[in-house]
Amino acid sequence: MSSFAPPDLSQWSCPLPLRDYPTIVMGHGGGGKLSAELIEHIFVPAFRNSALEVMADSSVLPPPAGRIAFSTDTYVVQPLFFPGGSIADLAVNGTVNDLAMSGATPLYLSAGFILEEGFPIAQLAAIAERMGAAARAAGVQIVTGDTKVVDKGHGDGCYINTAGIGVIADGIHIDPTRAQPGDVVILSGTIGDHGMAIMSVREGLEFETILKSDSAPLNGMVASLIQFAPNIHVLRDPTRGGLATSLNEIAAQSGVGIMIEERSLPILPDVQSACDLLGMDPIYVPNEGKLVAIVDPRSANDVLRVMQKSQYGSRAAIIGTVTEKHAGMLAARTAIGGTRIIPLQIGEQIPRIC
């Protein structure tokens, strides 16, 4: 059995000593010297960019041409570090992807931290460094931020909120109301990787191989799609609630039915096995580096080709079509040729007893 080990932080040393505190104390959120030290020694070096370094109360940025996309999301994942990523990767990629799904080019992020008293500063530094790396990989800048500290026992180590601004070029109209009968549904890769990776480390479930989160920025793929494959009607990143939830929402918002072929869904064998073992359906399991595109049938092959050529889309596949029938509902043709409705779940998917 293989197992996942969180990063070794014992060798971390602060570039400039952070006074005498190896852990977060209430004063780090107090706005005084301790707060300033965190910014100076941890956040600024990790995020490094000219807008941040001015250290003003707000970042002052030039207005971009086109329409503005604005999004926010909060990250409370446990554990903070997991196979294939960390809360830092999710905090950057999640907001970057939300912007990209409107067809926007993500530009700037904010980062708000809620830290629990006693949280190791070495871990905070590791998170900040990974956020900086993720931002550079996605081509965005973290230009403003905030830190608050809550009493021991009132938080779960570290929560992060990021908000992001992106710009949408003129002529791009991608939104979840635009799916039309006849459109083709294309998925950028395997589903369920992130959720099962988290579940396997959180619950201490061991499989023969380590399941890895798919956390990834998708703005590069979206930029290529917009450039080379016009007529994209809808883009969605199927995070919480998985592919089933995203497609149900699109069906409802566009007033159309969606029919997918279960056999076409790319699913890693290990993820499928883990789901089978726990009685879970991968179509409801969260993803953090996948998108589903609903496109004009004339563009379907172009979209597929562009996705497959991009870094995070090698297993992209056409998975279904949009139909006039069963409006507002998602249905699937099952592997053995039956059909089923795939409804929205009430809450979280919970493992079945047997």
Binding site: G257, A335, I336, G337, G338, P343, I346, R352, I353, C354
Partner: protein
């Protein structure tokens, strides 16, 4: 994966379904006993492949669904007590008691943990010697060996802060109760493969002998189910009721004997109430005398709790195959997965939830 894909082959499935359709001379009513089978039938659209050739009646084999309201209330009472860590399989958390469910108790501060095995609960007890750790031991013969093992180890290792709220139920007495019902429409049974992997299938011969119904041991993958149905239909058409094993890769005649030995040591047969059905004599297990100290019902003094089920819920009729879920007046109106009246609407294995989720309001021809 190759191993599983073989049992999900669409072409083979169509061939078997065609065989079934061509074999039947009348519409037979088959009951799949296990909730896992119900789930698989609906999830894979097997009933549609059969195209009305066979009526599938969804049986009482969802452990979550048949756990009586009274026991849920006892679980809620125990889980609410300060100092208790209450461990359960995930899908018990949403089952409504008389007033609330375990999710609500958790939100109100109860320490409720989802575990995947009773042995995980035992480990939690080892790690928290100052806390009382209770495992909600429900299920059929399938989950029983692991539960028995947990209690057995607790006794062996002297883990005194561990106990189990037991509500084990047994398949053969349930089949017999259904057959004894004057309203019984079931003409053959698909027996639950995983129950039989523990218990074997020797128990079914007297039932077949007495009631003259075919019983075919059946697995859970689409092809397993179709093959089970195919064999059952052939037995019905030939008028030769007998026991057949269509799940040979997991089930043998005598079953898992070390498991049965442990079960007979840790548990003893008892009368059990089934939610929606009532008490079926000798249809369950409780902890045997040497293990009685680990019985949470006694340790927490909740034996006096009683409960009345909603008169609007007809889950008992559904579980016995007398009513289709969508024929219940409350289906989809007073009773939905969001606000379930009975447990059959809660568990994804429950017949009502399965109908609601997968078959709901759908004129199937409209999505072909």
């Amino acid at each position: 994966m190759k191993y599983l894909d073989e049992f999900r082959d669409g072409d083979l499935a169509k061939n078997i379904a065609r065989d079934i359709r061509q074999t039947v001379t009348r519409k037979w009513s088959l009951m799949e006993v296990c909730g896992g089978q119900t789930h698989s039938i609906v999830r894979n659209g097997i009933d549609q492949l059969l195209d009305g050739a066979v009526e599938m009646i969804h049986g009482p084999g969802c452990p979550v669904c048949v756990t009586p309201l009274e026991l849920i209330d006892k679980a809620l009472a125990i889980a609410s007590q300060p100092g208790v860590i209450f461990c359960s399989f995930g899908d018990m958390l949403r089952v409504p008691g008389s007033k609330v469910d375990l999710f609500r108790v958790k939100a109100d501060g109860g320490d409720i943990r989802v575990v995947y095995s009773p042995l995980d609960a035992l480990q939690i007890a080892r790690q928290n010697p100052e806390r009382e750790v209770v495992f909600f031991g429900i299920g059929f013969e399938t989950t029983a060996p692991a539960n028995a093992m947990a209690v057995h180890q607790a006794k062996l290792q002297g883990i005194r802060n561990f106990s189990m709220l037991v509500s084990h139920v047994l398949v053969p007495p349930a089949i017999e109760a259904i057959l004894n019902s004057p309203k019984c429409r079931v003409q053959a049974f698909l027996a639950a493969g995983h129950v039989c992997s523990v218990m074997g299938y020797w128990q079914y011969y007297p039932l077949v002998e007495r009631y003259r119904v075919p019983i075919v041991i059946t697995g859970f993958e689409p092809l397993d189910l179709l093959e089970g149905i195919r064999r059952t239909v052939h037995l019905l058409e030939a008028g030769t009721p007998q026991v057949e094993n269509a799940y040979e890769r997991a089930v043998c005649f005598e079953g898992n004997q070390p498991a049965q030995k442990l079960l007979s040591e840790v548990f003893e047969v008892a009368d059990r109430a089934w939610r929606g059905i009532g008490v079926i004599p000798k249809s369950g297990w409780r902890l045997s005398e040497p293990y009685r100290d680990f019985d949470a019902e006694l340790r927490f003094d909740v034996a006096g709790i009683t409960a009345e089920e909603s008169p609007l819920c007809h889950s008992g009729e559904v579980l016995q195959g007398n009513l289709k879920p969508n024929e219940c007046p409350s289906f989809g109106t007073a009773c939905t997965p969001r606000k379930p009246l009975g447990a059959t609407m809660v568990s994804s294995e429950g017949a009502c939830a399965a109908y609601y989720n997968y078959g709901r309001f759908v004129a199937l021809e409209s999505i072909h």
